[in-house]
């Protein structure tokens, strides 16, 4: 079972890593936020799977902290995005 959980952990990580292409490609702030959020969710999932695979119960606490702070950071990012792009195109993108 630990091997399976470790493999699942790596699979989830690989998936969210692919999603990170959206941070590079954009084209908008929204896509970058989505990719970061997907990584947050995936990172938490991967951490839980890793903790179950290695039997380290304290990783659940790390996931809990990550869940709270990722939520805080997502909201801060979305708010900053809304504040910095009022009704105009993103100058840093090829929109």
């Amino acid at each position: 079972m630990p091997e399976f959980l470790l493999a699942a952990c790596m699979f989830v990580l690989a998936m969210v890593a692919l999603g990170l292409v959206r941070i590079v490609r954009g084209p908008n702030v929204a896509e970058r936020l989505m990719a970061a959020q997907l990584l947050g969710t995936g990172g938490i999932g991967a951490l839980l799977l890793l903790g179950a695979a290695t039997g380290d119960a304290s990783l659940v606490d790390v996931s809990l902290t990550l869940a709270l702070l990722a939520a805080f950071a997502s909201v801060a990012f979305a708010k900053a995005a809304a504040a910095s792009t009022p009704d105009r195109a993103d100058p840093g993108s090829g929109e």
């Binding site: 990783l59 805080f72 995005a81």
Partner: protein, 312 residues
Amino acid sequence: MIEALNIGLALLVLALGAWTVVARDTFAATAGFLAYGLLLTLVWVQLHGVDVALTEAAIGGGLTGALLIRAAAKLRKTETAARAERPGAPTRLVAALASAAVTVALALAVLALPDPAPTLAPEAMANIAATGVGNPITAVLLAYRSMDTLLEAIVLLFALIGVWSLAPDRVWGGRPGPLNRVDPNGILAYFARVLPPIGIIVGIYIFWIGADLPGGKFQGATIIAAMWLLTIMAGLTDVPPVSRTWLRVLLVLGPAVFIAVGAAGALWAGAFLGYPDGFAKPLIIVIEAALMPSLALVLALLLTGAPERAAA
């Protein structure tokens, strides 16, 4: 299989670090930095530093990301002008060579690390019973090297004084940050009502288990600071003016208690910051409980920045 995971993690971290450095858009770079902090958390877990992973999860990604993104949003208009100042190819080449030299030197040092590795783990474990705590990292932070922790708490205060002293005269001692006007029935306000109660419980829990398991006051204080900042961002509460007396008392309470216990140690235990026999654990708890609110407050106020509005 664990090697494959480690190699994948290392490559991902490098890719995100590179993106943070080379991205054209600062906003995109900061989003990359947030993801980078998250992956570093996983790296710390793989390096068996769960305490450090907790700190990285709380501060490295979360707080630092929020701090930088606010600044990036504010400075957005200067982006185009600043991009024109990008140095030419010769400078970039020299910079690339210099950084490559740094990397090679460090990599050689890593490969030449002594074997067997020097370690203080046996010494740390040999005396841990005397401190009464079960987590060796907490023992280091509050018994073996408590001087470092005290100085750190004071450094944080000095940084905050530095930030506050950047306020223009007309808002001296006023409220940091812009006024947040948010729809009181919107999702953000709802979220900021539901999350903090849970977050505060988790913060105290992480603080409390720090005596015996990975966790502790820094991580707990960061979570609580983030929850307070969330209610501020949602417009539910406002940052108090920095000249308020209660605020300043709360800020210095932690370091003051720490110094008082240290001075008492000089009298009764024979050394500054020494603990009398059998009193180590209760004194550590007193210091941690006093430090935690001060740390939460100082971290949150560092993030909100210099005063921008008059105190009235």
